[in-house]
Structures are given as C-alpha cells and as structure tokens.
Amino acid sequence: MREIEQQYISIYQEHLNLLTAPACNLLNEQRFAAFEQFKAQGFPVFGSEDYQHTDVASSFALDWGMNLNRFDFKVNPYEVFSCDVPNLSTSLYFMVNDKFYHAQEPAAKLPEGVFIGSLNNFAQAYPTVAEKYYNKAISTDKDGVAIFNTMMAQDGFVLYVPDGVVVERTIQLVNILRSNIDLLMNRRLLIIIGKGAEAKMLVCDHTMDAAIKFLSTQVVEIFAEEDACFDLYELEETSMQTTRFASVHVEQAASSNVLVNGITLTNGLSRNNYYFNLKGEHAEATLCGMSISDKQQKLDTYSHITHAVPHCTSRELFKFVLDDQAVGVFSGRILVKPGAQKTIAYQNNRNLCATREARMYSKPQLEIYADDVKCSHGMTTGQLDESALFYMRTRGISAEDARMLLMVAFTSDVIDFVRVDALKDRLHKLVEKRFSGELSKCEGCAICK
C-alpha cells in the first residue's frame, strides 16, 4: 500500500459518518464493498500497460479539499449560464461540482415516467430499479479510479427513461466547477434507457474559477435495454488547472444502439476511459471523440469494447490535434470473445502534430477469438498536407487561414457523427473558434471563457 492510498483510506475511515450521512443505503452498501476493493488494488500504477503515460496517483497527492459536508456553493447556474445552442431547445439541468442542482428546474415537461434528478431521490422513488442498475456496469477491476469514485460518491445524477418512452427534447446537463479552494469531487451519473426507449443527452464541463485547481472523478453508467437508443455527447471546456479522471461504462442489450462522443476543447489533464459491453445480439455501438490541445494540455483516452455475442457492430474514431507542448494518448482495445461470430468492429485513430514538442502515443489493439469477423483498425500520425496548403496559397488564401481550414476539415468527421443537427452546427462553430484562437464566449455568459 502506497502512502497516497493510505492517505485516502484514512480520510475514509475518519470521516465515514460524514460520507454516509447524506447518501442512501444503496450507495453506502456499494461504498463498503468498493472500499475493500480499493484497499486491495489502490490507484492504477503509473507505467503499467494501461497507464503508461498518465500518473494518476500524483494527481491525487495534492492537498485537495473535499466537500464531505455537502455545503452549497453560492451560485445560481440559471443566471450565470446562458450558453445556448441556437435552434435547439434542451431540457437544461445543472450539477454544481458533484451535486445535482435542485433549486430550480427547467419549465419544459418531461414525458410521463421519465426521471431526472439526484441519485438519492431516485433510490427512494424507484428502489428496485436503482438496486438493479447502480454500480452494476463496473465490471473491470482495472479501473482504480472508478472504484475510488464508488467509495467516495455521496450523490449523483440519474436519467431514467422507462420502457417504450421517447424523449424528443435533448437533455443537457452542465457540470459547473465552482470553488474557493482546490477541490476534489466525485461525480456519478446513472443512465437507464428502458426497452425501446430513446433519449439524447449533452453533458458539458465548465469551470467558473480559472485560478482554482479542480480534480474531478466521474463515473457514467449507461444501460441500454433491448431496442433502446441513446446518444451521449460530452464537451469539456474547463481550464488548464483542471484534472479529470472519467469513465463511461456502457452495457448494451440486444438491438440497442448507443453513441458516445467525447469532445475535449480546453482542459488540463484528462483521462477518459470508455468501456462498452455488447451483451445482446445486433447491438450497435459508436464511440468517437476528438481533442484540440495546446500549451501543456494532455488528453489520455482509453477504450475497451467487448463483443460478447454474435452479430454486433462497433465503430470507433478518435482524432487528436496537438499544438505547443500538448500530449495526446490513445489506447483502444477491441475484444471479440469466442463465439462472437459475424462481429463487425472498426477502430480508427488519426492525429495531427503541429509542433516539435507535441507528443502523440497511440496504441490501437485488436484481440480476437472468433474467426468469422470483420475487424480492422487504422492509425496515422502526421502533419498537414504541404501540397494542399500550397494549393490554397496559390489561390490567395493566407497560410494561417489555409492551415485552419485543413484542421477544421480534419476534425469535422468526428462532429459529423452527432445525430442532432443543431448541435452539430454549434460544435462546428465552437471548433472553428477554438482553432482561430478566439475564446468561445457567448454573449452575456459568465461561465464561458
């Protein structure tokens, strides 16, 4: 046991009462089990196969504050946040740090039976459903941070769409990081899409206090039952001071369709783990993401897609654009289990390095135990095409504009995966602004930088 784990074990033991007090029984039961697991395995070890380029433990070593008493931070997100997506009306919800914001909720009515709210309330209202799903997708014993999150989480966010219900309006959840002191928070999202149900969700991360250091762990569990359809779009626009260890765990039943798209525009250090488990035949998974990084930003992406049964399809595309001293890491694994015949799995990773100091580490992997499959992966790392640049310059486009055009084009196919047109347009604009160096600031918004 290293000193760093010992430190958090002591915090846990000393403040167990504080930790358990606001949480429901379900969270606490899982917490006790997670604690035992954490004691045994601790944080992921720097340099181990899946953590070759990110030192998790050192991020936790700083003197972080933790809001175990669940004090409210004074902020009314509905007043400070006015980023909106033109032509798209969303049901807008907020989390301040790791706490669901109850004080005010959107006016738009949700379809009958749909639950959006805090995890503790959900566990009270739907005890059997909560028990059936909470913490059930985290099967991997490799993800020490997810275990830490389970051990520390006091509340969370739940989206529950019962069987057969279609939520037309996109649900938007804005995570606001707000604090006066350096803060460690443990956010938890549970998403349950019933049989034949449909929903789309956009999750944005924003920091309000650029000078404050934040460390957030986030665990998202997604359960898509038979014929369910669900989209998750994640947009990270935080600050250089923000460290994020996030994991998305997806369980898919037969004929379900799940899309996860993670876009990182501004961040400090982020590690995003994606686990997909295709458990029912004819399930379809799409996982894509992109990162535009400069300065000392770092994005470490890890994905693990398991094809457990025949006739499933998965598509994966990640793109990195690295400037200055930015570091990008992509590590993806597709596992086709014995008997999972007729699997189709494509994995793609494309990277652009703009400077000498930028670093890209890429590791696409296939692990296949069935013979009748179509699996492929591709990976390229390179630079902008000189002849394309030259072509544009001969047509009177400045070098700078030409570079930007090419970069925008390079990233655009990740955005093309978005299945909400208004959001697609908005993301194209955000990316363009990001490249042109303009701050993506909405008028009258205090959160956007």
Partner: protein, 481 residues
Amino acid sequence: MQESNNILQEVTTTDYKYGFVTDIDTEVIPKGLSEDVVRIISAKKNEPEWMLDFRLKAYRYWLTLDPPAWAHLNIPPIDYQEIIFYAAPKQKVGPKSLDEVDPELLETFNKLGIPLEEQKHLSGMAVDAVMDSVSVKTTFKENLAEKGIIFSSFSEAVKDHPDLIKKYMGSVVSYRDNYFAALNSAVFSDGSFVYIPKGVRCPMELSTYFRINTANTGQFERTLIVADDDSYVSYLEGCTAPMRDENQLHAAIVEIVAMDRADVKYSTVQNWYPGDKNGVGGIYNFVTKRGICKGHASKISWTQVETGSAITWKYPSCILAGDDSIGEFYSVAVTNNYQEADTGTKMIHIGRNTRSTIVSKGISAGHSQNSYRGLVKVSAKAENARNHSQCDSLLLGDQCGAHTFPYADIQNETAVIEHEATTSKISEEQVFYCNQRGISTEEAVGLIVNGYAREVMNKLPMEFAVEAQKLLAISLEGSVG
C-alpha cells in the same frame, strides 16, 4: 461446406510429424545456473579474461531481474536450475544411411525439395564423413576469405578477432536489455560472427546451415553481423526442414551493425518442434534480435517465416540512427494447435529522413494464439520520418485467437506514420470460386494462404522462397503439398 469443414478439422488436428529423439553423446555439466557454471562454460571454451568478465556482469545483472510478464502469452514457469547450460556435442551416433531414416521425414524433405546431401545432414547423419560435403564447405570458405569476409563461429572469432568482438558485442543488444538477453549474455554457448569489409558484396547467401561445425549449439546462440561501409550481405538463419531439438528454452541474441550505405538482409525460417496437438512439449523461442543502422543511408531488412515452436516471443528491431537509413520487417507467423506467438518489431527512428516498413501476416488455426506487437518510435530529432505498417491476421477455425497490439510514440511533428490492420477468415466466396474451377478445397486453402503471405514470401531469398511456400502449406494443412 462439409468438405471445407473436414479440411479445417484436419488442419487443426494434424500432429507434428517430424519429432523424434536423437541419441547424442554429449559432454555435459551439472544442471542449474550459478556463477560457477558461468565460469565453467567460459573455461571450457578457453575464453579470455574479458569475455568471462562480460559473462559475469551479465549473470549478476540477470539475478536482479524478474521474468517479464507483459506478453500475450501463457508461459509455464521456467525452472532455470533444471536446465543444463552447457552441452557440447562430442560425436554423433546417427543413422548410417538414408535407409535408416524415418521414411515420413524423408517424404517431408522431398516435399520441400531439399537436396540429397542436405537431407543426410538434416536427418542426423555425420555429413563431414560424406564425400564432397567437406570440399563444398571449403570452397565457400576460400571464396569468402578471398574477399576478406570473416564468417566463423563466435568462439573462433573471440580468439581470432578479439578487437572486433570487443568493439561490437553488446553494442546493439546490451546485457542489460532484458531478462533473456542478460541470460544469454551470461551463458551463451556459441554462435556466428560475420564481418563484411568495406565495399564488399558478399557473393553468396551466408547461412548457419552450412556452418556444420557449430550444429547443435543453438540453445543460447549469439550472432553478430557487422557490415562495413558500402557492403552487402544476405544472411539466412534456420532452414525450412523440421528441426528436432530437445532443448526446451531457446534464448538467442542477434546483433547487426550496418555502417554507411551498408545493406544487410536477415532471413529466418523457423520450424522447431511446436509440441503435440494437445499443447504438450515444444520449444520456447525467446529471441532478442536487433540491428542498428549506424551509418548514413544504411539498410537493415528482417524477413521471418515462423511456423514452429510452442511459444515464439521475439521482436526483430531496427534502430535507425544514421540519416536516410531504412528499416524493413516482413513476417509470416503461423500458429496451430496450442502454439502461441507474440511477435513483431520495433522501429526506432533517430536519424533524419529515416524510413521503415512493417508487413506482418499472422495465420492462426486450432486453439492457437497469434499476436502482433510492434513499436514505431520517432524521436524528437528524427525529421521527416516515414513509417507504414500493415498487419493482417487470418483465422482458420473458431477456437483460435488473433491479436494486434501496435504502439506509436511520436515526438516529431514532421513524421508521417500509418498503421493498418485487418482480421478476417478465408472468404467462402474465394474457396467456392476455386471449387467451381475444379480446385479442391484442400488446394484452394493452400493457394489462398500462399497468396495472402506472398508479400512477405517475395522478400525471402530465391532458394528459400520456394521451400518456405511449401512449408506454409505443410504446417497448415498437413495433407496438402
């Protein structure tokens, strides 16, 4: 379809036909590994003091290491105290004439098209006594000596060319490189040394196979090839014929140094005992192979056809240190029954305008596991580095596994790196098309597999290529060929 199932059934259950035990009178030392054993080995070989020092340093370093566990392999623990680390063959008691040799073995030789003289040698006969053979060997030696080429056993080279050995041994694969490199450096039995002087094109393919005097010392072999400015050499290791070797663990080292504009081509065909169809027995082939393109515009090309061994674990690599240097890696790895392979390459780009090509073809059948693992590293100073990797896997049967683990570490923005991989099975349409034209499913599978591996086979030296193609068919199909 029924027929094709039969074939696959046959393919995945065929036994290794060539294993038998040769009773050889050997000079052995007690089993186990200790500092004394290292000293005994060195003394038996009459090695100079500096060689012993090198071995001892390696041995002491080895003691501090743990066996690596990161590979996608299931390796039973190896007890190093149960291994005999030195066994020099005294005199062979082999079959006296080809009539005494296992007819099935001869059948295989014929299928592979191996000349009679070689068949005698391979089947364990004392070839030295056979007429012509000696003169063939000496003709080679004379030819080579005329051009100033040194081609000798490692032990001879230690005595005859200590300066060259001192300068280059361990310069590419240091004894601190990895667990098995340290072990080899401590206990290596013998091996080959090649030196090609400036401006010389080696007139023939050099092969361990013709170096008869060092046969059967392969367990901890060490090969060192130094190609001076503007020279060229093509080196062949192993042979297509089945090797019946009772050593369980093979931990060899191959080092290549290429100076300015030198061109080295290293080809391997490995067909050691893979264990029976239940995965019992077989060779562990853990080899560290690495070349350095030291000079400007130098080139190192690795070609390997791996069909044998229970476990194959090796990554023939190129360090592209010289500007404009080129590294190439072409590989076909076939695994059947319970064989396991974790093989690939490392291309380390250090010089400017360096280029590397990786083509890897994996074929898995039976219950075998076949992995490609490769690293492409572009260091900060390697301007305009270019790499293209292609890794394809072919699966025969639904119990086997094919895996791809490429790594790319890019630290220079001018680099252009591409990696592509596909995994699939033999297309039913292709087999059907062949059937329609009167080609049996058996032959069709052979044709398709050979077509699939052609890109690599074409890189083999001419005389090897034909044999290797047949070998592919034999190791996979059992009945074809």
